[in-house]
């Protein structure tokens, strides 16, 4: 183990290039529960993100875990990469019937 000097650490490629989603409508979920949706206009290595024509999905004031379909307009937004938990394209998502409903019995597998 003699004198193995480290230069720059090897550059790791990201497994997903946000360049693929540029100028498309994306949904960004944040830590803490905020959900925003807008057109992806920019980003950086730390996954800070710029969205244009952005809306925020409002949450139920009684229960902040419930995200409603109501939105408010925000406009151009910079989202902090440290707070991003998910970025997904709007095109290619669809709502499906709730698979968790109708569980009347115990120990449902």
């Amino acid at each position: 183990m003699s004198g193995n000097r480290r230069g720059a650490p090897p550059k790791r490629d990201s497994i997903f290039e946000l360049s693929k989603l540029m100028d498309t409508m994306v949904r960004v979920k944040c830590l803490g529960g905020r959900e925003l949706r807008g057109v992806l206009r920019g980003y950086d290595d730390l996954v800070n993100v710029v969205l244009e024509d952005c809306d925020e999905f409002l949450r139920d004031p009684m229960d902040m875990q419930i995200v409603t379909d109501e939105t408010r307009k925000l406009g151009k937004v910079v989202i902090r990469g440290t707070q991003v938990s998910l970025i997904s394209p709007e095109d290619g998502t669809e709502e499906i019937a709730n698979p968790f409903l109708g569980a009347d019995d115990d120990g449902e597998d």
Binding site: C30, L36, N48, M64, K76, V78, I79, Q83
Partner: protein, 88 residues
């Protein structure tokens, strides 16, 4: 068009009113004076919109009326050139 860099968008908004969404339900509006690598912000004439937990979570508006240092740790989103939540 080439992509916008988020930190450049923030930089361009120095001197304008910005609307900050924090991780919880708190929001802050202020005139952006500057920021650092961690996106801690210096804001002037800041106004805080925070839920009042002693009053059923209604939003309470507090004029902070001075320059503040807003810790970047809890900042979720920055909306440049904005006066904040529209009055109901």
């Amino acid at each position: 068009a080439t992509k916008l860099l988020p930190l450049e968008v923030i930089d361009k908004s120095i001197g304008t009113r910005v609307w900050i969404l924090m991780r919880g339900r708190t929001e802050i509006v202020g005139t952006l004076r500057g920021f650092d690598d961690f996106v801690n912000l210096v804001l002037d004439d800041a106004v805080e919109y925070a839920p009042d937990m002693r009053n059923g979570g209604q939003m309470v508006v507090t004029k902070l009326n001075s320059e503040i240092l807003l810790n970047g740790n809890q900042i979720a989103a920055i909306i440049p050139d904005s006066n904040g939540p529209p009055d109901s």
